[in-house]
Subunit: 196 residues, 4 copies
Amino acid sequence: MGEKSEQKREYILKQAKEVFAAKGFRDVTMKDIVEACEISRGGLYLYFGSTEEIFREILLSELEDEGDDITGHLTEDSTMTDILMLFLKEQKKIILRKKQDITIATYEYLFAHKPEKKTDNIAYNQFEQGVKVLTRILEEGIAREEFYLENAKAEAANIMYVLEGMKICAKTFGISEGKVDQELLYLVSGLVIEEV
Amino acid sequence: MGEKSEQKREYILKQAKEVFAAKGFRDVTMKDIVEACEISRGGLYLYFGSTEEIFREILLSELEDEGDDITGHLTEDSTMTDILMLFLKEQKKIILRKKQDITIATYEYLFAHKPEKKTDNIAYNQFEQGVKVLTRILEEGIAREEFYLENAKAEAANIMYVLEGMKICAKTFGISEGKVDQELLYLVSGLVIEEV
Amino acid sequence: MGEKSEQKREYILKQAKEVFAAKGFRDVTMKDIVEACEISRGGLYLYFGSTEEIFREILLSELEDEGDDITGHLTEDSTMTDILMLFLKEQKKIILRKKQDITIATYEYLFAHKPEKKTDNIAYNQFEQGVKVLTRILEEGIAREEFYLENAKAEAANIMYVLEGMKICAKTFGISEGKVDQELLYLVSGLVIEEV
Amino acid sequence: MGEKSEQKREYILKQAKEVFAAKGFRDVTMKDIVEACEISRGGLYLYFGSTEEIFREILLSELEDEGDDITGHLTEDSTMTDILMLFLKEQKKIILRKKQDITIATYEYLFAHKPEKKTDNIAYNQFEQGVKVLTRILEEGIAREEFYLENAKAEAANIMYVLEGMKICAKTFGISEGKVDQELLYLVSGLVIEEV
DNA sequence: TATGAATGAGTCTTCATTCAT
DNA sequence: AATGAATGAAGACTCATTCAT
């Protein structure tokens, strides 16, 4: 059999995630996770060999959970501006979330674990996925004459950098919700063709 | 006494900076620094009590080194576009630098050391300083009719977020110089009034 | 779980006691105990967190071992003088013992660990316990007209101070067995009603 | 020259005594004394090689300060009971003193520094000196028919043990002034011939 | 004489990891 | 599968003592 009880595996990841959210990545020891799971030291090693391994798993499952939310909305009859706003609102939630937030742990992990191939890099994939989704939204918006833009892809990248910037700022010195709203509004206002 | 030899103090900071650049903040031990300085364990403790203390000092001296570079140019007869480009070029260097780069160490340090007052936070001060400088440049550019912009301050914040975003992306998955140039160009092109 | 193996716990205490008897309290390091037990550094910390903790345990078990020896004899048909002599002989053993003697360690420990409440103080309890036992013996002796005394409790306290005095003298400059006998005899001779 | 400046030597001993009174013997480091004296590390070593050496000196000068106080009174026309009370009052002060009290430091020192010859032992000398003084007082009292006693020397030793006992009890668990008075009164009441 | 920077040995303490049961 | 006692390496920190000035 590949991996003992799949159920227990999931349980460990769930508990461990809370620990990482609370302590970041570097401060977490196997002992912390053992205690959070109320299992034995040896028991944990049966499933995972290190905090790195555990965190990588958590990160991958996070990546799966995200994504396609927006694409589902692309077929609806709402305007592209609405959809863009929806996307940004989702990002805002990520930027400001406090509970179950492994953002700092993720940065700490990434600083210490640069994969050989860029495509193995979770952060890269997440960024590129964002650019892709945004590009689709913007292009469709241009087609529908909602947005005025010459280069959808460049704008998409630009927005993603802003979002990344706000994310790291939120974690290093904190940003108020007001500031985030203000910035997101500024981003959108630059795109939308104002009705006369 | 000004705390033992000021010269040795500087020497330790210099050597330590290299260690932090190479290993980040969390991985660095007092032993690492002792070895890099080729002094005794006790000798280091004569000057600094912890890696935190050492890194804080490095960070503060970094902060001093930066700053007013640009403001000096404000009186010259170059165009504001030139000055903006100069500012961004400086930022580009920071984003892409490999040598003596304590960016990752700084993030790691900040994650673990959130000061009570926001104004004590080095990252916050650095960000706000950037916004201020940019705002001055943009406002002057607007006055001189080089830039077309309604809200200089909002644009300044926007640019700073983009720069922060690129900085963290560079450290988590790497950005090529080309990408940075492209993005910076995109930023500027949105501002400048195109000559007919 | 009753904290790992109770057997090993006892073993550590036994070995540690020898170390404390040999070196006093202050000179003993966790390393000393680790070596005396032939276990690993981390292994010791599994059971005890400090020399203080270990010594406290030893002290408490000592306290249990002592005590009621004498009271058991109170019902027998021996004279009270016999019983008093028995008590003093026991004390003499304590004063003069060399092997497994943690007296000095105990003083060192007490100097450094004064509990808030007097009733938590092991030395106080030991002293008061002695006074109580002696008082009972003396009172019974008075009742049986073996001893001539006006204040049993005061005499009990007096005897205890003498014993404490001899204990500390034995440890600071040494007392010969002859001197102890002489002093104890002097104590008793002052109490007993001489037969005509 | 034997020893640099005698004045500085005395100064160091004076400052050091305060440190020992505050921290006992074992906890005091050369650094503590350096700081208390506000001299340099090397400077202290010029005069003394260790805390042991310093403390020994303090102890010896203490011994000199004590003593003959009482013998001076032997020629006066006060009763021997008065003189005995005076002696005990002096001892009471020692037992209860809090300020400038190096009693604990002395015990700690003695535990670790048993001299070869008993006559080199400060504690022994102090004890024997006490016995001698008391014996003289008691003998004179017997001669004057103030005290009823068969063996002055034995009683003297007995009293000294009681005093030692109270001293150590005071330091390990504390004795109230009332208790000390009570005990001393009990001691004297056993000696004095009651007037009819 | 006097200074105080520098040394390095020694202790404490924590953790990842193993392994007998 | 699971347990948890045991190990030992590694890092932090302090102090007595020396030595160039």
